[in-house]
């Protein structure tokens, strides 16, 4: 290379750069720059026309100033002038300035586009190259409008030079990324696919990038690329290291191209053609084999390039998730990397293994590396590697190793970096809950969490432990004893006081028989922490105290004294003062019976997705946890206790909620939000003895509810007195339901009042209209009630139907969940296989997909399954899935505001008696809800 070419003679520029570098202070630098800017401005404004060289020099100086971090607001025009210079270097500098500094100044864009157009059509390929680089660098919408139609022609022109083709391919890629609507698909697409066969590996490399991006959006159109990519890949991996000349990089043949081809194949399912599939499997095996060969060079570049291809191959194996043999080999290979001396490889192995852990074929193989991963957690010096180890432990956790993994995470937590503590806390809490066989272990784990990392235990975590203790009566005594003991510690975290206060308020009586934890001792223990706590915790403790008044009449006097003290009754905080006043009053005026009713033990909480799981998802971003979580959810359903569904509403006043939204009760229908016990209005119902409280859901209501997901007519509820039948029809976003109330006795029902109850959330999304029915129902008679339904937007909960009436002097109160579910607003859509997969790919955003793997609850009968999918409302698409055992469906959910396209795929595994259900819709909440509903059906 001639030395002269290394500077291009702009002495003035070099001097200026030297000056800047010699500046001793920031101020001096700014001064020098301002001087230069003034100089350039005067030159540009001056009467004397500047020659090309000076223009180039000044533009270059401006560029340098900009790159130093200063704003530049002039010189654009001069740069544009340089574009039309016929001197190459001037043109080049003009283009550089434009690509670094261009903004959407419409006047200039037109001028720039003109110049670009000229160069694009130039016979000099170097000029064409410059123009293409400029389009790719700027990539604005205006450029796309001007050139998106032109570039495909350049790309597939027979006589184009290789370098021009390469630039054109990537230029088009950039335009497609910014303005996909402006890049028309057409004849050129098939010719682009054939560039994968081009002799020039550089052209293939550039084309592979373009095709990958296009195929993600239009899989059908680029389907032929699969076999071409496989054969190209096969030729590369089997070539000797010298065959590809300059495309061999440190003895690795075409690593960049290999990685790109493997990426392209990840846009598609495993090839259907057995020959192609066999060839691909061979390639993947060869890549795995090569990993075992001794290195051809000691240079890190050699091993990096080789392993880059290997990791991409493993990604493809995981993506296909269909060859158990390859998956296990991949896992073993990664296992070797876990102990490699290169930190980078350990990091990547941990990361890749996380994905392998969620495949049913390799989950067990991943688990065998548990000790290595645990030791990584303890010994890695780089926090980002330790973070990967935590992720992997979380991913490989199941019932068999949960105790060990949770114990290790807890012990790591003691020394963990602050930046990842909260995440570890969430993970421990989730695993402990999910895999608890023995709930005493769960309680111990959470209390340990609070002890070790109390500050990082978010509200969701301690809410959840209370939900679980309340829902499981086998653990309540143990929980009370354990929190009591934990509270003995001289310094304990405020979160422990909260949990302790809540649990003792509910279940303190279970340990009160032991003189060491007598009611008075419990009270004194809690009250000794009172003054150190924040207002919300104090408010919670006050509720505990009033609960004690009910549980332990013997401490009533002591507690009343505390409530009566000035520090409570005259507390500056309104909430505390109000609680003290009301609780004191309540304890004074209410009879034992009323106290017992008002302060009754908390009813079980409704079963729902763990709020901590939601938090982890939010924290990590949807992409990283969703799949894993869904796959694991199968075992988490039993956490909330017995098969009985929990009542979603209760006599409201029995809730000693320390704050309005404790446990996110906003979802429970009739409880108005607001500080619950302190609002006097809520207590009235109890005092007035009017039986207006809504009954808990009738037993079996949940099962009946599930039966109606795939059908519209039938008996919803029946006991000795009453039968409730349903008949309904739905069209688009509207529906009409007839509810039949049958009196099975020979006696009249009086004051017969059915009420539909929707939570605020539900009300906003689902509108129900109905007329009251006749308040008397004669013996043996049936009355009918029509409900008009409109789906405004997608919704998750179901309305509750509450029926109250008098029968022979006794008051009857029944609640059932009314089966109005989101899938009722489905309209089936028939589509061909190619359309299905095209749409499937379009919905590839991780938020759009929800997956659930679950055990079959009913015999796995194909015909019944088909009937259920049709009953669910979607179209059942035959001969779409390459595997005939799978079921796929498609439909559109109609709501008033929008229509949501939904695709579903159900993969039965007869051997394991399991299903995998995948929902893809354009809206996360819809995918979620439909998946929940449909999972319950099989």
């Amino acid at each position: 290379m001639p030395a002269v070419s290394k500077g291009d003679g702009m002495r003035g520029l070099a001097v200026f750069i030297s000056d800047i570098r010699n500046c001793k202070s920031k101020e001096a630098e700014i001064k020098r720059i301002n001087k230069e800017l003034a100089n350039i401005r005067s030159k540009f404004k001056g009467d004397k026309a500047l020659d090309g060289y000076s223009k180039k020099k000044y533009v270059c100086k401006l560029l340098f100033i900009f790159l130093l971090g200063h704003d530049i607001d002039f010189g654009h025009m001069e740069a544009v002038n340089l574009l039309s210079s016929n001197r190459y270097t001037e043109k080049q500098i003009g283009y550089l300035f434009i690509s670094v500094l261009v903004n959407s100044n419409s006047e200039l864009i037109r001028l720039i586009n003109n110049a670009v157009k000229n160069d694009l059509g130039s016979r000099n390929p170097t000029f064409t190259g410059l123009a293409l680089h400029c389009i790719a660098n700027v990539g604005s919408r205006e450029m796309a409008e001007a050139f998106a139609g032109e570039i495909p022609k350049i790309l597939v022109a027979g006589d184009a030079m290789d370098s021009v083709k390469q630039s054109a391919a990537l230029c088009l890629l950039r335009l497609y990324r910014t303005s996909p609507d402006l890049v028309p698909m057409g004849d050129w697409t098939s010719r682009v696919v054939h560039l994968l066969n081009d002799q020039h590996l550089g052209v293939v490399t550039a084309a592979a990038s373009l095709i990958t991006t296009l195929a993600q959006k239009n899989p059908e159109e680029f389907k032929t690329s699969v076999s071409l990519a496989v054969s190209r890949l096969s030729r590369i991996v089997t070539s000797a290291s010298t065959d590809l000349q300059d495309y061999t990089y440190y003895f690795v043949p075409a690593p960049w191209l290999s990685v790109k081809l493997l990426r392209l194949l990840q846009c598609y399912p495993p090839p259907e053609d057995p020959a192609v599939r066999g060839r691909l499997t061979e390639c993947l095996e060869t890549i795995l084999n090569k990993a075992q060969e001794p290195p051809k060079s000691k240079k890190v570049q050699h091993s990096n390039a080789k392993n880059a291809v290997l990791f991409e191959a493993i990604s493809l194996i995981i993506h296909h998730d269909s060859e158990p043999n390859l998956l296990v080999r991949a896992c073993n290979q990664l296992g070797q990397f876990l102990q490699h001396r290169e930190t980078n490889l350990r990091y990547l192995a941990l990361e890749s293994m996380c994905a392998l852990a969620s495949s049913e074929f390799s989950h067990e193989a991943v688990k065998t590396h548990i000790e290595t991963v645990i030791s990584a957690l303890k010994t890695e010096r780089d926090v980002s590697v330790r973070q990967r180890a935590v992720d992997l432990l979380y991913a490989m956790c199941d019932r068999s190793n949960a105790q060990q993994i949770v114990a290790e995470m807890l012990s790591y937590l003691e020394t963990a970096d602050y930046s990842i503590r909260e995440e570890i806390v969430l993970k421990v809490a989730i695993l402990a809950e999910k895999y608890a066989v023995d709930y005493t272990w769960y309680v111990d784990t959470i209390l340990n969490l609070i002890r070790i990392a109390g500050d990082y235990v978010s509200e969701e975590v301690w809410y959840r432990v209370i939900q679980i203790v309340i829902n499981r009566d086998d653990v309540q005594g143990y929980a009370a004893k354990t929190v009591f003991e934990a509270l003995q510690a001289p310094a304990c975290h405020e979160n422990l006081v909260k949990v302790g206060g809540y649990i003792l308020g509910e279940f303190g009586n279970l340990i009160a028989g032991d003189p060491r934890s007598s009611p008075l001792t419990q009270f004194h223990l809690l009250h000794s922490k009172f003054h150190l706590c924040s207002v919300p915790t104090r408010a919670l403790l006050l509720s505990t105290y009033i609960k004690f008044v009910n549980l332990f009449p013997e401490v009533k006097g002591t507690i009343q004294d505390v409530l009566r003290s000035d520090s409570q009754l005259k507390n500056a905080d309104v909430e505390l003062q109000q609680r003290a006043v009301e609780y004191l009053r309540l304890s004074t005026v209410a009879s034992t019976d009323i106290l017992a009713t008002v302060l009754e033990e908390m009813p079980p909480f409704p079963e729902r997705e763990s709020s901590i799981l939601a938090k982890l998802k939010k924290k990590k971003g949807p992409s990283t946890v969703t799949d894993l979580e869904e796959a694991k959810r199968e075992r988490s359903a039993d956490v909330n206790g017995g098969p009985e569904p929990a009542p979603s509403s209760t006599s409201a006043a029995s809730t000693p909620s320390p704050s309005a939204d404790l446990l996110g009760l906003g979802a429970a229908p009739p409880v108005p939000t607001g500080p619950p016990p302190s609002a006097g209005g809520l207590l009235v119902d109890v005092f007035s003895d009017s039986p207006s409280a809504v009954a808990p859901l009738a037993p079996g209501s949940e099962d009946n509810f599930a039966r109606f997901v795939c059908k519209n007519n039938g008996v919803l509820f029946e006991n000795q007195l009453l039968q409730i039948g349903l008949k309904s029809e739905f069209r688009q976003n509207l529906g009409r339901m007839f509810i039949f109330y049958g009196n099975k006795t020979s006696t009249q029902f009086l004051s017969f009042t059915p009420t539909l109850i929707c939570s605020d959330d539900l009300q906003a999304n689902l509108s129900l209209q109905t007329k009251p029915v006749d308040p008397t129902v004669d013996g043996g008679a049936q009355v009918q009630q029509a409900v008009n339904i409109e789906c405004v937007s997608d919704f998750t909960e179901a309305p509750v139907l509450n029926i109250q009436f008098r029968y022979g002097g006794t008051f009857q109160n029944v609640s059932v969940k009314l089966p109005i579910t989101l899938n009722k607003f489905f309209q089936p859509t028939e589509m061909a296989s190619q359309d299905f997969f095209q749409r499937w790919k379009q919905l590839s955003n991780p938020q759009q997909e929800v997956q659930n793997i679950f055990k079959a609850k009913h015999p796995m009968d194909t015909e019944i399954t088909k009937a259920k999918i049709i009953g669910f409302g979607s179209a059942l698409l035959e001969e779409v899935d390459p595997n005939p055992a799978n079921f796929v469906g498609a439909g559109i959910i109609h709501t008033k505001t929008t229509q949501i396209g939904c695709l579903l795929r159900l993969e039965p595994n007869l051997q394991a008696q399991m299903y995998r259900l995948t929902l893809r819709t354009s809206r996360e909440t819809v995918s979620q809800r439909l998946c929940e509903l449909l999972s319950e059906q099989f």
Partner: protein, 171 residues
């Protein structure tokens, strides 16, 4: 790839290339944040880190840090080798490149990068082909320029970024 940054051990930005549209303000913010994060990392640490929803791949060559932001599904190791190949190209072109070459000939550094990467994707991986393209351009320039002389870099100490064996210098 979403962007590539070159900066010195003192945190001075030497080259920036953005493949996604961002405002100048955002660019400055990202640069500040990343330079700080990367400079704070110790040698021997892993070359990859998660940052926002991107993956950062970086490597230090003598006094210069090369730092790329890639997307979730992109390959980290091959990105490390993209960096290395770029360093090799600079080295070959300037003849044992040092930080000063990139400062004084920043426009050349950009031209070489454009031949190698376009729109954030690898355009040409053959060292020969990339350099041939740059050479051709330089020839065009010689035909049209009368004056051309290598800019003197003074008597400053030249620290090679890239030794002949091209090993990454780790402290």
């Amino acid at each position: 790839m979403q962007f590539m940054l070159l900066f010195s051990r003192q945190g001075k930005l030497r080259l920036q290339k953005w493949y996604v549209p961002l405002s100048d303000k955002e660019k400055k913010k990202i640069t500040r944040e990343l330079v700080q994060t990367v400079l704070a990392r110790k040698p021997k640490m892993c070359s990859f880190l998660e940052w926002r929803d991107l993956k950062i791949v970086y490597k230090r060559y003598a006094s210069l840090y090369f730092c790329c932001a890639i997307e979730d599904q992109d390959n980290e190791l091959i990105t490390l080798e993209i960096i290395h190949r770029y360093v090799e190209l600079l080295d070959k072109y300037f003849g044992s490149v040092c930080e000063l070459d990139i400062i004084f000939n920043f426009e050349k550094a950009y031209f070489i990068l454009d031949e190698f990467l376009l729109g954030g994707e690898v355009q040409e991986t053959s060292k020969k082909n990339v350099l041939k393209a740059i050479e051709q351009a330089d020839l065009l320039q010689e035909k049209t320029e009368h004056v051309s002389a290598r800019v003197s870099l003074g008597v400053r100490k030249r620290t090679r970024i890239c030794a002949g064996v091209l090993t990454c210098i780790k402290m």
